[in-house]
Symmetry: C2
Subunit: 229 residues, 2 copies
Amino acid sequence: MDGRSSRWDEHRAQRRTELVEATLRAIRSRGASVAIDDIAALAGTSKTVFYRHFTDRAGLYGAVAERVNASILRDISRAVGDVLALSDGQTEPTTAPRDVLAAAVDAYLSLVETDPEVYRFIVAAPLVPPSERTETIDLAWSVSQSIAVQIGGLIAVALGAAGRSTDPAPTWGHAVVGMVRAAGDDWLRAGAAGSGTSREMLKEHLTELIWGGLSAVFPVTTDTDSPQE
Amino acid sequence: MDGRSSRWDEHRAQRRTELVEATLRAIRSRGASVAIDDIAALAGTSKTVFYRHFTDRAGLYGAVAERVNASILRDISRAVGDVLALSDGQTEPTTAPRDVLAAAVDAYLSLVETDPEVYRFIVAAPLVPPSERTETIDLAWSVSQSIAVQIGGLIAVALGAAGRSTDPAPTWGHAVVGMVRAAGDDWLRAGAAGSGTSREMLKEHLTELIWGGLSAVFPVTTDTDSPQE
DNA sequence: ACCGGGTACCTGCTACCGTCAGTACCGGAT
DNA sequence: ATCCGGTACTGACGGTAGCAGGTACCCGGT
C-alpha cells in the first residue's frame, strides 16, 4: 500500500461520520425528504463531497441507517441490561423475558417519539427499479432488518432450549419487529405523544400481544362464538 | 348541477378505473417505480389525462391502493368465509378463529407472491415533505392501514365479548398486519417462493406466533401460562 | 541529507445532463 | 361552452464533469 493513499484513511472515516451526522441534522430540521443539495448546504459544503463519500442517495441512506441502527441496538441492549440487572435474584425470575421484551419495545418506540423525522427517513426505504436490483449488499441496510435478525437469533436460542424446531425463528424475528414498527408508524401518523396514546400504554399493549398472542382474547369456551358480526 | 357536466360523471368514473387498471399493468411490467409518463404511454394516452383524474402522484397512489385494498379485502373475507363454512358444525369449533386468522394471513401473502411489484408499489408509501403534510385525507390510503383497521375492529369485538378493555384493539390491529407485512417484505426480499421458504410454511409460522405469542417459547415455571403446542 | 518535482489524494466550486412530476396552452369534439 | 386529449414547457432534483487549488507522501538528483 502506498502511504499517499493510506494517509487519508483516518480522515476519510472521520469525515464520513461527520457527513452522516450532518445528514441527521438536516433530516431533523428539513424533514425526511430533504434533497442532497440541502443536506450539503446545511453541512456547509457542496453536493459533490457527498457523492465522493457515498456512491449515491441509496448509499447515504445506507450509512445513515447503519448509524441509527447501531444507536438503537445500543439503546435496546442497554435497556435489556438494566432490566436484567434489576430482576437479578429477584422474586419472579420467570417474568424476566417478558420484561426484556417490554424494554426492547420501549427502546424502539423511544426513537419514534424523540426523533420522528429520522425515523421516517429510515423507514422509507428507497424504491429501486428492478433493473438495478442487486442480489447483494442490501443486507446491512434497514434498521428493522438488522434488529429483526438479532431478535430472530434470540428466538432461535430459546426455541432450541425448549427443544423445538428453530425454523420459525427468522420469520418470527421479522414479525416481532414488524409488529412494533407498524404500531409505531401508526402512532407517529396519529401524532405520537399528542394522539392520546402514551408511549407507556403502547409499549404495554404491544408487549402483551407479542407475549401472549391473540388466543387469550378469543374465549375457548363454547361453540357459539364467531367473531363475525 | 348542470346537466352538461353531470353528463360526464359516468364516463369519468369508468375512465378512472381504466386508468387505475392500466397503472397496475404498468407497475407489473415496468416495476414499482414507474414514471407517470410510462404509465400513460402504456395506457395509450398521455400524462395530462392522469393529472386530470388524479391530483398528483400521491393521488394516483391512493387510487391504486384503494383498488388493491378492495381486492385484498375481498380475498380475505372470501378465505375467511370458506374457513367458516368448512368448520361449520364441525368437531372443533374453538379452532375456528385460529383458522380464520391463518386464512387471512395466507390471503395477504398471496398478494406478495402473485403480484410482487404491485405489492412493492403499495407498500412504498410516498414520502411527503413536512410542509405539506395534511392532518387529513391520508386515512383511506395504504392497504396495511385499512386492513389494520378492520382487524382492529374484529379484535375489539372479541375483547368486548371477553369482558376486557378494548383499548389495545387498534394497536393490535396494526401490530398484527405489521407482523405479516414485515415477514412478507422479508420473504419478498429473499425471493419469495424461490427462497426455500414456502408460503404455506410462512403462513403456519405467522399464525402460530400471532395466536400463541412468544410466551410459549420461553420455559416458564409458573402455571398461569398456556401450554406449548 | 535534503530538496524539488511528480504523484495521489483531498476539498470546494460552477456548470451541466437526464429524468420526472406537474402545468400551460392549444386544438378538437359535441 | 365545456369537457376532452396532446404537445411542449418549467422546475426540482439526482448525479456527473471538470476545474482550481491544497497538502502529504514518494523518489531521484545533487
